[in-house]
Assembly symmetry: C2
Homo-oligomer: 369 residues x 2
């Protein structure tokens, strides 16, 4: 176990991520030195209590520290990490929080460097929105390579765990290939689809305003912070290009199947997707996907509905996996959905909600295998 | 206002949708006759109290009714609607609940036919899962054409409203173009992406198991009921092919921008997506998207958390737009997110949750314009 409270930490780049790490480390008793090229950003981090010792130079910030964490924009990471490695002495372990890992790890090429990537998207930026709890429960990829000093890896692993994140070790190239498909492709498709829907005008109907559940789900990550995402897309462009090319081939195969009205092929393709959807659910819920049921009610737009429902469910100690209330509009109220494991639990939930006077719809989450 | 209680209704096809309409109409006092080619499906609808008078022939079912609602699979609709129009007398208004509208409306070509499409996806099927509340708050597209008898349209409009759905009139072709982009494209992309992620193996890491928020959101509609969706994709293949071709061009443009590392173009593309995302939010929340904030906490996997949080929020009468609790795992607990309108409300929510001992992260939902 790492005693974070006894560490001296330097945070280079005191925006949202850097200041959040600083706040978390400071809460654990660490002494935090800070540096940012933007004096106002550094001042804000000091004001927030994230940085104890603001420094006017990078060299000053990293002097005598145990860990230097680099939290500057992705495009600047190779350069800044190299400078930090150069300016700090051998006792200093260097890590970063960049969303891509191959470029920075290759550039660092030092036993003292351990690449890192906390997965916790946020539209906020700046130390003003920093939180010691930003990483609570989040996956935090660590990308040690062959030359990485194991003791340095253990130190960063311990720091990340102390910030209540879940460290996951992976090779830098594998990391970038993994996030290309789990994160960068979905972000790219979200942007593509909202822009396509945004330019389409269908007999006076705006597709964006008519967006149902599926387009709304898809669009959630559309237009994410360009300051961050231009860098990510460009730095990971090789992996993303490969994933996009494969996606385009998939689109072309679907177009061919549609053109020839090949019901068999389209059916097989949907069945394959159903199987993959079950794998996503199995990983997310540690339950048999066939046992997952969604219990849905329509609720009026009035105060107290949420508390009334959750109190009733809580009193019965129902095993709720997910709980969602989506507001439609003041006129149309909202939709409340509860994901439960087991048909018996679904029935109990339905009976409870019916007793409260709601009309209930129960449906399995995944079609059978 | 239509007195649904005085109507005689025939439901042709007593699966989930037909039986749900039947249950809703029966609850309002209507007399429901029913027919299904599958005798067991019809029996189940009778057992559920959805159908009062089961019939052994379609002609028998539609005899003397005011409204005949056809709820058979999409591919069968043109044929079945034609038979229903032929077997019923002039007093009978005919409607359907198919997810595509151009084909069936063109085939019907009758002043007595009013096409309909209730938007309420469900993985359930069969009368066993039917609910009179399935349409509560849902959009229900109606597709009258030039030859449609206005009185018939008012009748179907009244029936739909009485089932608590929101009728939205639109031309059949416009309907199919609209759902191609708001529903069929997102469904197709969900299938394509989970299948791509499902076949990728990255140094032992399964992208589906590592699926973060964006892939999980995107995959929600993947693998939806093939019995239903093969028909939908094929029937609307012209509109879907056009939307897919445009999507493929967008992918190619993105690939070109990435290949030439065109930061300006990628930045503009993300900014456009951010603007379109704000339009989605504006339509969904009737609030200035810049005023929407997400308040997020990490919660342990223990009973009572949900009730404790909602009681505290309810007591303060916070104006909550959306409320989500997503379970991560027994070890990692869950993430609770609350969408509120107004920075002041976000601060109040944060203070409340901090007082309960939770670490809180507050962030705007949409980046500024």
């Amino acid at each position: 176990v790492i005693e974070v409270g006894s560490l001296r930490i330097a945070v280079v780049g005191t925006g949202l991520m850097g200041a959040s790490v600083a706040l978390g480390a400071a809460r654990l008793g660490a002494h935090v030195r800070g540096y940012d090229v933007d004096a106002a950003a550094l001042e804000e981090a000091v004001r927030r209590g994230a940085v104890h010792t603001p420094c006017t130079s990078l060299a000053d910030a990293v002097e005598g520290v145990d860990v230097a964490l680099v939290a500057t924009p992705v495009a600047s990471l190779p350069g800044v990490v190299a400078v930090v490695l150069g300016e700090s002495d051998d006792a200093c372990t260097v890590t970063d929080v960049g969303s891509t890992k191959a470029t920075v790890c290759a550039a660092a090429a030092s036993p003292r460097f351990v690449g890192g990537h906390p997965v916790c998207g946020s539209e906020a930026h700046g130390a003003a929105h920093a939180s010691a709890d930003l990483f609570d429960g989040a996956t935090w990829f660590l990308t040690p390579v062959a030359e990485t000093d194991p003791a340095r890896y253990r130190l960063v692993h311990g720091l990340v765990s102390a910030l209540r994140a879940q460290p996951v070790a992976i090779e830098p190239d594998a990391h970038d290939a993994l996030v290309a498909i789990t994160s960068h492709l979905p972000h790219a498709l979200a942007n593509l689809v909202v822009n396509q829907a945004g330019t389409a005008r269908i007999a006076g109907h705006d597709p964006l305003a008519a967006a149902g559940g599926s387009l709304r789900d898809l669009s959630r990550v559309a237009g994410a912070n360009p300051r961050v995402w231009v860098d990510i897309f460009l730095d990971n462009r090789e992996a993303l290009l490969s994933v996009l090319a494969e996606h385009r081939l998939g689109v072309e195969r679907l177009e061919a199947a549609l053109s020839s009205a090949d019901a068999r092929e389209i059916g097989d393709w949907i069945e394959e997707a159903a199987g993959n959807r079950r794998r996503v659910l199995r990983a997310a819920y540690a339950a048999d996907p066939g046992d997952l049921f969604r219990v849905r009610i329509h609720v009026p737009d009035e105060p107290g509905v949420l508390a009334r429902v959750t109190q009733a469910l809580g009193a019965e100690r129902l095993n709720i996996e997910d709980f969602e209330l989506h507001h439609l509009s003041p006129e149309r109220g909202g939709v409340l959905g509860i994901l439960v494991s087991g048909e018996g639990e679904a029935e109990r939930a339905a009976q409870l909600l019916e007793a409260l006077g709601y009309g209930v719809v129960v449906a399995p989450v995944a079609a059978g295998p």
